[in-house]
Structure formats: structure tokens, C-alpha cells
């Protein structure tokens, strides 16, 4: 149906009130880069829509050695921050300049490839999401946010208000592989974080995108890595485990067969990058 009401709340409480008053039929939109195409083509015919651009959810600040990212912080602002280089890299790899000026970090968790690409980096950084609802606010680890293909723990009446990235140890690497050099959907996205004492890996995160129903951690590969020394054989073995436990899918971008091989290759490359110096953090 033709949109009869477009709400632009000026605060979180106003947004939650609107959500409460109109219920699940109210379409919630942040940057509009996913919702507007559906409306423009008549695929989605919402009657009432709430835009979050002016809801005051765009704080971006360093906090306790980590980062707080409001849900509607644009990908351009995430790209330009210097505190967490891997997040800058993740933002740079997403879409085009104009889209990044509109698309939001919170919104990216709801986009294809299922769950977005920025989330892959956020997973490797142990990020959590803040959800606000009529009953108050709760914090959910990002790893527990997605529950399936384009599904998540967000309840009716709740809004995702921001993300928190804690201070974490280790070197990081983020690699997104697409079919073009820029502005390209993901064949696979890999984010890794490795903490070492001496030569021994003490902690590891290996996060994968476009390799499952949502961004996921390769837990078995992480366990295989911890306690070992980062060398070519270990990297090779860990990448094989990651490929094995990944759950890739076929779509217009790549086949399941190809994606699984690319998981292996790009986990290898990411770990190699860390072995040879990493991106730092």
C-alpha cells in the first residue's frame, strides 16, 4: 500500500513509543539502503514507516580502550575512525562511497550476505549489541544476535541502539573477497584476531561471512589454533578446519563449492598476514 505515515522520531524514547503504538506493522528503517529498494519496486508495500536517521543513535566514541558505535553511525564514519583499524577496513570493503554515506553500522547487521560484512569484523572483536525495548535495555553478545538466515533475537518492540567493541588483545586481519576490487558482494569475508605470548597463540577469533546463515565464528579452527605456534603448517591445518566447519551457500555471487575453497584460502591469507606482521589494532 502507499505509505501513509513516515515517522522521523527525534529520540530513542520517541522511537520506542512509536514502535509500541504501531506494533510490528511499522517498518523500521535506518540508512534505507536495503528497505528503500524494496519500497521503490513495490516488493514491500508498507503503510507506516519509521526512519531512525534523526533518532540520536549516532554516537561514535572511544570508550574504555574500546569503541561505542551508535546503531545509525554511517559506514563512512566507521571508515574514518582510527581507533579500530579493522573496522575501518570492514567499512571500506562495503558497498560504494555514496551507499556508505547512508548505510548504518546497525543496519548492516540486517543486510545480505546474511548478517552483513561489518559483523564479521565485529565478531572477531567480541562486540556486543545493545537492544532497547519497553522493558529496558539488554546487551547481547554479537555471536548470539543472529539466530538463523536473516533472523535474530530482536523482539517485537525492541530496537538495536548501538554496538560496543571492548578493548581486546592481539593482532587482526580482515579480508573480504568479492568478484570486483571495490563495491562488490562478498564471496567470503574473513576476520581474524590472534593474541600471542612469545610464539604461542593464547587466544584466537576466526570469523566468517557469506559462509553460513549469518556471520559465524569457526570455533573448531579457533581451538586448533590456540596453544600452537603460528607457522605455515599450523595455518594450513587451521584453514582446513575452518573450511570444513563453514556452512557456505550458493547464490548469484558464488557456489557453495567455491565458497568453501575460498574460506580455506582466505583464512590462510589472513593468518599469514598476522604471522608476517598483521594490520595491528
Amino acid at each position: 500500500m502507499t505509505v501513509t505515515d513516515y515517522f522521523l522520531p527525534g529520540s530513542l524514547s520517541e522511537a520506542l513509543d512509536l514502535l509500541g503504538a504501531h506494533g510490528p506493522s511499522l517498518m523500521v528503517m535506518a540508512g534505507g539502503t536495503v528497505a528503500m529498494p524494496l519500497v521503490n519496486d513495490g516488493i514491500s508495500l508498507p503503510g507506516k514507516v519509521m526512519g531512525l536517521r534523526h533518532a540520536g543513535l549516532d554516537d561514535l566514541r572511544e570508550e574504555g580502550g574500546g569503541l561505542y558505535i551508535g546503531a545509525t553511525v554511517t559506514l563512512t564514519r566507521l571508515l574514518r575512525q582510527r581507533a579500530v583499524p579493522m573496522l575501518s577496513e570492514a567499512a571500506r570493503s562495503t558497498a560504494s562511497w555514496s551507499v556508505r554515506n547512508m548505510a548504518t553500522v546497525g543496519g548492516n547487521l540486517f543486510t545480505p550476505p546474511p548478517g552483513g560484512d561489518v559483523a564479521v569484523a565485529l565478531l572477531a572483536l567480541d562486540a556486543s549489541v545493545t537492544l532497547a525495548g519497553p522493558a529496558g535495555t539488554r546487551v547481547v553478545p554479537l555471536g548470539a544476535f543472529h539466530t538463523g538466515f536473516m533472523t535474530n533475537v530482536l523482539q517485537d518492540g525492541e530496537l538495536l541502539t548501538g554496538l560496543r567493541v571492548p578493548a581486546v588483545a592481539g593482532d587482526t586481519a580482515y579480508l573480504k573477497f568479492g568478484r570486483k576490487a571495490a563495491n562488490t558482494p562478498s564471496v567470503v569475508t574473513v576476520a581474524v584476531r590472534v593474541a600471542r605470548r612469545g610464539d604461542t597463540v593464547t587466544d584466537a577469533r576466526i570469523a566468517l561471512g557469506a559462509a553460513g546463515p549469518h556471520p559465524l565464528r569457526a570455533g573448531a579452527a579457533e581451538r586448533a589454533l590456540v596453544g600452537s605456534t603460528l607457522g605455515p603448517e599450523v595455518i594450513e591445518a587451521v584453514a582446513a578446519v575452518a573450511a570444513e566447519e563453514s556452512q557456505p551457500f550458493s547464490d548469484g555471487v558464488a557456489s557453495e563449492w567455491y565458497r568453501r575453497r575460498m574460506v580455506r584460502l582466505f583464512v590462510t591469507r589472513a593468518l599469514e598476514r598476522i604471522r608476517q606482521g598483521g594490520e595491528g589494532r
Partner: protein
Amino acid sequence: MASVIVNFELCGRDVEVLVQPMATLQSVLRNQLGHTATKEGCRQGGCGSCTVLVDGEPMLSCLLPVEDVAGRRVTTLEGITPIDGLDPIQEAFLESNGFQCGYCTPGMVMVTRALLDHDPQPGREAIVEAISGNLCRCTGYQPIIDAIEKAADRLSGSGEQTGER
């Protein structure tokens, strides 16, 4: 449905429009304000032909409800075209044949404007990255990249000022 009134600044003048809720900036520019340089290639955020500047930043007018730009500064290609003659970016596109059918050109010029505002002397790689959201099906991009390089040289004063067409 009740229409709503939206005010914003368009190419240096204040405009007031009466729109249907969540009308796109693209449709308002094209259908109500006559700014048809803002093209309509996909309305999916995928082609860049509707690129405009909002407070100087390139955005896709097909994805922007016009209410979202209330009070903000919107610039279309009409706004950077001098009454007489051409902007140096337009001259460079003309001289380098940075177009063929012309449909992607307004978006290309707008993103070039924004790029050179941010980075007056971008390298070729930065140019390619900046226009990666603007699709051209005719040229193969090289003449467009040439045009942007030429415009950057001229505007930053490091290039030859031939003035020839």
C-alpha cells in the same frame, strides 16, 4: 494519505515542497522541482545515476526519503553548472569524451565534485574507488577516469590549461 511539507536548501535557494509521505528525494527533484539531471537508473542504490550531494557528501537520492533532508543542503548537477559555460569538471568530461549515452554522466560529475572537494589530487586508484558505485555501460570507464584526472589537474593548478576543445 496526508501530504507533508518539507523545506530544504536546493542549490543555494530555499525550497518548500508538498510531498506524499516518504517520497524519495529523487522523485521530488525530478517530478516536482524539474531537476532532471538527477537520473533514475535503478532506484535500488546500485547504479549511482541519481547521486546528489547532501551537505557536500554524495548520496543516492533514490534511497533518501525527502523528509530526511529537511533543513539540509542538497546540490544537484544543475547547481554546479554555471549559467554560462561549464564547470572545469564538465569541461574535462567533454574534452576526454568521459561519456557516451550520457545517462550516467550527471552522477559521475557529482561524485567527482565530492571527490575533488575531499581530495584535490586523487590518484587513479582513489578515482576508481570513488566511482565504483557509478555504473557506466558505454565507455569502459577509462575516458571517465581520464576526465577526472584532467579535472583534478586543472582545479589544483598542476595541469596544463589548454582551454582547447
